[in-house]
């Protein structure tokens, strides 16, 4: 499949460019296909290529010293990843893995520099993209580093717990994130932390509270 100009039109990086400009940019873009589970970037390695997702979805994640994975973002068609290291010349800040079959469009740093010089509008677009990413990461970092989110998640679990008869509304991690005033990545991490502390058990369709009193203590401790 050749790189599609129609698709490039919808990419925030290239917003407002003419068809002729997109055709010239298309020349330096190369395509890369990935299978489910394949890694496209590894944290800490040198960054040479900016990637746009053409189809499918990838997850951007970091792995802690204990081997725990923290998802920072899910990148969907039209969105980019690896922007920061391409512009500051540093290593990949996180690893990136295909969640299913994925087609990526890559632009090498040297080519991107030429694009930026020839098309100043792209530089303005890049600023907006980077600002959006900084905002997302800012709230993520804030919540990941503050234990009070766990307290809030614990409170939501207690308030929504039923007796297993299905009488209580079921919640998604997204619902819990909205209630706790955080993002779903942080809810996922909080639930795993609560499971490690032995106060809940994560089952397929359920969250089982195994130690209600300990959970109550956690709410009290963080409020």
């Amino acid at each position: 499949m050749a790189v599609q100009v129609e698709f490039l039109k919808s990419v925030p990086y290239f917003c407002g460019l003419s068809i002729a400009e997109l055709h010239s940019i298309k020349e330096v873009i190369f395509e890369k296909t990935l299978q489910r589970g394949e890694l496209v970037l590894i944290e800490g390695e040198p960054a040479e290529v900016l990637y746009l997702v053409a189809s499918g979805a990838v997850k951007v994640f970091k792995t802690s010293a204990e081997g725990k994975e923290q998802i920072l973002n899910i990148v969907r068609p039209g969105e980019s990843f690896n922007d920061v290291s391409i512009f500051d010349g540093g290593p990949n800040p996180a690893s990136v893995q295909a969640m299913g079959p994925v087609v990526l469009y890559g632009i090498r740093r040297s080519d991107l520099e030429i694009i930026l010089r020839d098309h100043p509008l792209v530089a303005l677009n890049v600023t907006k993209v980077l600002a959006g990413q900084a905002r997302h990461l800012g709230s993520l970092v804030e919540d990941l580093s503050f234990r009070h989110v766990i307290g809030r998640v614990a409170k939501i679990l207690l308030e929504h717990a039923g007796d297993g008869t299905g009488a209580r509304p079921r919640l998604t991690q997204q619902d819990m994130a909205a209630m706790a005033g955080t993002v779903r990545e942080v809810v996922g991490r909080s639930l795993k932390a609560l499971e490690e502390e032995g106060v809940i058990r994560l089952e397929r369709h359920r969250i089982v509270i195994t130690d209600k009193e300990a959970l109550k203590d956690m709410v009290a401790a963080y409020f």
């Binding site: 499918g56 979805a57 997850k59 717990a161 007796d163 998604t172 991690q173």
Partner: protein, 70 residues
């Protein structure tokens, strides 16, 4: 047993992202709307997969959890 995942057909824009990430291959697009085939196979998926919900840009496919006290 609840039906999993839960789909809101009106919200689905047919982008197919959930279909592409589902490793149990139980999701397909029919008339540009996501549809579950072979529902029983999702039972074999990893605990806490929820990837279809994670990637959906419109919130059309959800994996709600029941919270119970043991």
């Amino acid at each position: 047993m609840f039906e999993m995942p839960v789909i809101d057909r009106a919200k689905c824009d047919g982008c197919g992202l959930c279909v592409s990430v589902c490793h149990c291959n139980i999701l397909v697009l029919v008339d540009n709307v996501v549809t579950i085939i072979r529902e029983e196979r999702c039972v074999s998926c990893n605990r806490w997969c929820t990837q279809c919900e994670d990637v959906c840009p419109t919130g059309a496919i959800r994996w709600p959890l029941e919270i119970v006290i043991e």
